[in-house]
Symmetry: C2
Subunit: 409 residues, 2 copies
Amino acid sequence: MRVLVLGGDGFCGWPTALHLSARGWDVTVVDNLSRRNIDNELEVSSLTPIRPIGERIAAWKEISGREIGFQNLTLGKEFDRFVALLKDEKPDAIVHFAEQRAAPYSMKSARHKLYTVDNNLNATNHVLAAMVESGLDIHLAHLGTMGVYGYATAGLTIPEGYLTVTVETDRGPVEQEILFPPNPASIYHMTKTQDALLFQFYAKNDGVRITDLHQGIVWGTQTEETRQDERLINRFDYDGDYGTVLNRFLMQAAVDHPLTVHGSGGQTRAFIHIQDTVRCIELALKNAPKQGERVKILNQMTESHRVRDLARMIAEMTGAEIANVPNPRQEADENELVVANDQFRDLGLKPITLAQGLLDEVTDVARRYADRADLSKVPCVSHWNAAREQAARDQTGARVTRLETRQAS
Amino acid sequence: MRVLVLGGDGFCGWPTALHLSARGWDVTVVDNLSRRNIDNELEVSSLTPIRPIGERIAAWKEISGREIGFQNLTLGKEFDRFVALLKDEKPDAIVHFAEQRAAPYSMKSARHKLYTVDNNLNATNHVLAAMVESGLDIHLAHLGTMGVYGYATAGLTIPEGYLTVTVETDRGPVEQEILFPPNPASIYHMTKTQDALLFQFYAKNDGVRITDLHQGIVWGTQTEETRQDERLINRFDYDGDYGTVLNRFLMQAAVDHPLTVHGSGGQTRAFIHIQDTVRCIELALKNAPKQGERVKILNQMTESHRVRDLARMIAEMTGAEIANVPNPRQEADENELVVANDQFRDLGLKPITLAQGLLDEVTDVARRYADRADLSKVPCVSHWNAAREQAARDQTGARVTRLETRQAS
Ligand SMILES: NC(=O)c1ccc[n+]([C@@H]2O[C@H](COP(=O)([O-])OP(=O)(O)OC[C@H]3O[C@@H](n4cnc5c(N)ncnc54)[C@H](O)[C@@H]3O)[C@@H](O)[C@H]2O)c1
Ligand SMILES: NC(=O)c1ccc[n+]([C@@H]2O[C@H](COP(=O)([O-])OP(=O)(O)OC[C@H]3O[C@@H](n4cnc5c(N)ncnc54)[C@H](O)[C@@H]3O)[C@@H](O)[C@H]2O)c1
């Protein structure tokens, strides 16, 4: 079986490429290395010493004996090259990770908003239009986010993509199943809700077979394969734009810095370990929808926690302090989140929990590579709007300066 | 009051610019003339002899004494120039017509799908991001379409943008008002449902004041202003891509060609006269939402008809025959459509009906300029997918040839 891994040089894409290659898939990575260029722009780099894509692929060949192909190609710009690649490779499946994926980066400035919308929507539309153009029957698995479930009403278990609602009509109440009504919290999340409309359309109009994986925040760094050699090591982002809340806490704890909780920390988030991500993707590929079926949507997450509880968990493991700082995001300070993930559980997923895996991250990753960290990059400096920026300036001017002085000393 | 009319060289935009200018608004048109370039690509032109934008504006100055500004600028590409324009002009309002607006054109080929998504989404996102970047409080009125109401359940009067639904939760049923669940019928319509998510986000995150006008098919050619001088004449599209169903019937009737009805003609569509369009826009500008208000959505249409009833109406007026041809669109052959338009009625709109206005179109436009028509351009040759294309080839090869022979003779 042949598979293209779009965005296969990234945090989720690289371990997915290795996982599938190790299990006998014929893998080609498509990536324009834009994520590495963004590291240059932000003047940060992965905490872990990731190698260039060519070296990664050569090391994998050496260790496993398996070839992974690579195409440096910008999805959303180079349509003809991508169609030609499909016709050459005739893949059975495509896994699509190739989008700008950081909410804070998408809110950093006007230019970042424009880039995120342009990159993500054109990438997804080009992939779909190219699949139709190729005339091949290919299954597309795309990575979406839990952040598309905007109207998370209290008492509602978040369903898998579709919601049953009742509508009043002149002929009495009618039940309908609709795409979960989106109410995205950032430009980045919004592009995923716009992707969902692309999927709905191409599935209906062209019979394209699509699985959309609504993924929680991915934590953990290594998988079975990336652990085999340091040249295969996976990316660990800890900066205020790309570092997820958990990674930033881990980094802060490793260098004895207080864990900076946004607002009250009452925001509830869904999580999944990177090892479970790659397993879920394999399960999704093995259980593709049939032609003519509507878009198959699965919630790819294994547990939910409030941010302040995560901070406490890590504080207890490491002895770190906790500091509350103003929230740069335009969001409610407290929310509930109960999520259905029956489909992956039914397919046999046995998750790695935070309680089991978190300590490894502290010792094997955060402490081990702590000397590579630039701590000035940990705070989130992208604000959702002018009011949030002002609030941060008013309330923390003093404290931020204090923390920075302390780090410097 | 200052207003920018984005797409102000187009079919709706030009009469809007004149209507507002005549009523004392200080108008600047922003347009990249892409619509005229598409006419070149399709090798067609407006049935009516529209003049270059410079000549139009000069003629208006001569006739009315009023100045209209013009900027040739591509929205979605030239962000900095657009921000600078906002800062210079400090408009009170922006009317946004600047999108690729033909469903058949959006389905013509892969390249047309890519262009429509890229052009429409980047244009709208650039406009919104620039408004935030400018720091000015501007009201944006955007033109959407009735085609966003996908799940038009039998018995449901299509509400104005928002739908009240009941959701079952662990704590009992909960009522929610959501954006009407989209189920768009073409790439073009899909971009409008994606625009709706952009509006929702920028209104919520940045307090941008937005009105989204869900417009029916616009018919009629002239308004009070465009009628004053032939140099001000409005565009009349009759080709298979840009010509709406009504214009293609009018054109066919004018040259004694059978009216080509797609499928059974049971598709129900909503309509509005161009004179009412420009009035509605003025009403929308005078009744802007307040800051912090959610997106204000109005249905801008005045009557609904089945396509076969329109054909009959025109056949009776003109003596034309009716011919049923296979439908190139992927859609149901029959649908109901009952639409609420209370908001514009409450604001005092007194619509021009098809029954009153259609004969003028036949005599003043279609017959008058009939010698300018290229009849080979009337049939719709853009198919929604391979199956629809094949069906058209199988079923009408013979008939299409017959009709063409007849036209030629
Ligand atoms: N990391 C998470 O916690 C998480 C959570 C939920 C969903 N996701 C989704 O999973 C996917 C992958 O996330 P990630 O963390 O691996 O991100 P990443 O930024 O590490 O990887 C994305 C990769 O795609 C490439 N890319 C981006 N745009 C491209 C384009 N136009 N053409 C070619 N290549 C392009 C980048 O160079 C990068 O290597 C994203 O779609 C993301 O939204 C991630
Ligand atoms: N005509 C209808 O029946 C109808 C019905 C419902 C909604 N609408 C909506 O109303 C709007 C106007 O429709 P129309 O019939 O006047 O279309 P049109 O094609 O005649 O006019 C659109 C104008 O926008 C310009 N334009 C397009 N993309 C641009 C860009 N990126 N930068 C600058 N200028 C750009 C074009 O050159 C053109 O002059 C569209 O958004 C359309 O979807 C129209």
